[in-house]
């Protein structure tokens, strides 16, 4: 037995005048003459929020590193920080945090002065679930998730991110997004206008 909560059943007069039909059709005709709410995707694109969990990237050494964590880890791992290149300190914490550790392939390279730099950093995104645990684990804010979400490729090879691609993604993201205030965009009027707040006004369910 279905219990109707919101509406009482129509009486005889309302039934023969098709009141339920008229109610529904008035709603659809109102919607039909309002502005459409779609984005014409390949021609128009929305900007994802700054914290969007898209493709991975390596932030580069540019003076905005988290201090004192970065200096401590550089000293501990004996890393040679190179401006404009990856911040990675080859600590393998991302690999430890990953539910599928095999997708990481990380290696460092000894320099002549006895210090190390990262030389190999491959991520096989065919195995990745974009859970972000590696990003949380990164102690120097190097590995991060960018706003790139169009990840389709023509071959499986293209879905493996190597160090060059990661640095390129990181550089472009730092140029475009790093100086944006880090906030959820409920207070950002420009972005808010793109999505339009959904003003739902639901009736309360009376369970009596």
């Amino acid at each position: 037995m279905i219990k109707k909560v919101f509406e009482k059943p129509l009486n005889f007069l309302e039934t023969i005048l098709f009141l339920d039909f008229i109610k529904g059709m008035s709603i659809t005709i109102k919607q039909a003459f309002t502005k459409t709410i779609t984005t014409h995707y390949p021609y128009e694109k929305l900007t994802p929020p700054k914290r969007f969990r898209g493709f991975f990237g390596h932030k580069t050494v540019n003076g905005l590193e988290p201090q004192p964590a970065f200096d401590e880890w550089v000293e501990r791992m004996k890393i040679e920080p190179r401006p404009g290149q990856s911040r990675c300190v080859v600590c393998y914490l991302c690999k430890k945090a990953c539910p599928v550790p095999d997708l990481f392939e990380i290696d460092g390279q000894k320099l002549e002065n006895g210090k190390k730099v990262v030389s190999v950093f491959n991520m096989n995104l065919m195995l990745c679930t974009f859970c972000g645990l590696c990003v949380d684990a990164c102690p120097v804010d190097c590995l991060f998730q960018s706003d790139i979400h169009e990840t389709a490729s023509f071959s499986r090879k293209d879905s493996i991110l190597n160090l060059e691609k990661l640095e390129a993604i990181g550089k472009s993201w730092q140029d475009r997004r790093e100086h944006e205030p880090d906030r959820i965009w409920i207070d950002d009027d420009a972005r808010q206008a793109l999505w339009r707040e959904n003003k739902l006004n639901l009736k309360k369910v009376d369970n009596a």
Partner: protein, 348 residues
């Protein structure tokens, strides 16, 4: 009028009617997609041509170039016969639809109706009933349980609603004292009243029967995308798949809307004030205004059907047959009773 001229005129009529039906039928897919999209606050097809105007052509090319797959366990003859049985009766209904008043071209008096037979309405409903063959054959020949269930549901609906639609149409026929579609319109013009004003119950019953016959919401239980994956068309591919919705959703809706216009909305007559006369804002078009009025009425009916389709949920199959036999048929019979008293009072 010589026999040669008669033959040429009939040939021209056949070509024009077929071209208009199939051409407009294809373009109504775009109209439906646009209406559905805007009701759901989408813009619909926008890429091919200006606002998607060339989309039906693109769809047609796509469907025609697809591989024609015959299911291994299907009955090949019936499988292909079903398409013909669906398309031909639906198109033949237009043979008895009068599109406008008698016109005078090149020295001949031409009625814009293919055959003005004196049993036009009976022909229309006979062809409408034949549509069940196409559906039943396609469901049987596909040898698939979804197709068969969909076909059985459709057959049940058509058997129920053919009875209802015929009894509903009896009202206007009694008032007009004729079965010829041309004479029914002329009777409405002479009596200066559209029969919708005298037959409101019958009109509503007819509209519901139209929705059921053409498989439109709320009676689209034979399609039932969620359960039956579009029912009896499920085993068809390419243009064969494209033809079934074309016939069922567009050609049949157009033909039944034309019959509805003839029976209740005075065919090609302009706006009616009951028992007073007709007001024609399109008087400057001369005799051609009748064609425009006919097109306007059929367009409004088609848009109404679309509006209903994209608003309402669907009934269950048992509710549909219950409505047909327990509500619609008694209403239609009651309407005939009332009409029997009204009909002698009308002059003309």
């Amino acid at each position: 009028m010589s026999i040669v001229a008669l033959g040429i005129i009939i040939a021209i009529k056949v070509v024009v009617i077929l071209a208009i039906i199939l051409g407009i039928g294809a373009y109504l897919t775009l109209v439906e997609r646009k209406v559905a999209a805007h009701i759901q606050r989408r813009p619909g097809p926008m890429v091919v041509g200006w606002h998607g105007l060339l989309q039906p052509l693109a769809d047609g090319i796509k469907l025609l170039t697809k591989e024609d797959i015959l299911p291994s366990s299907a009955n090949q003859v019936l499988y292909n016969l079903a398409i013909i049985m669906a398309l031909v009766p639906a198109s033949l209904v237009f043979a008895v639809v009068p599109f406008g008043p008698e016109i005078h071209v090149f020295g001949y008096d031409v009625k814009p109706i293919l055959t003005d037979v004196n049993i036009g309405i009976i022909m229309a409903f006979a062809f409408g009933s034949l549509a069940v063959y196409g559906v039943a054959l396609s469901g049987w020949a596909s040898n698939s349980k979804y197709a068969l269930i969909g076909a059985l549901r459709k057959a049940g609906i058509i058997i129920s609603y053919e009875v209802v639609i015929t009894f509903a149409a009896l009202g206007p026929i009694m008032l007009a004292k004729s079965l010829s579609t041309y004479d029914i319109v002329m009777a409405q013009i002479h009596q200066k009243v559209w029969y919708i004003f005298l037959q409101p119950i019958s009109f509503v019953v007819f509209v519901f029967a139209l929705l059921a016959e053409t498989g439109r919401v709320p009676f689209d239980i034979q399609e039932a995308e969620a359960e039956l994956v579009t029912g009896f068309t499920v085993e068809y591919g390419g243009m064969k798949f494209g033809l079934f919705p074309l016939v069922e959703w567009y050609v049949e809706v157009l033909s039944l809307s034309s019959i509805l216009t003839v029976l209740y909305l005075g065919g090609w007559s302009p706006i009616n004030i009951p028992f007073v006369g007709f007001v024609d804002p399109l008087f400057f078009l001369g005799p051609w205004s009748g064609f425009i009025w006919f097109i306007i009425k059929v367009t409004i009916l088609f848009l109404l059907v679309l509006w209903l389709h994209w608003t309402l949920p669907r009934y269950r199959i048992d509710q549909i047959t219950t409505i047909a036999w327990k509500v619609m048929l008694p209403l239609a019979l009651f309407n005939i009773l009332i009409t029997a008293f009204i009909a002698p009072l009308l002059r003309g």
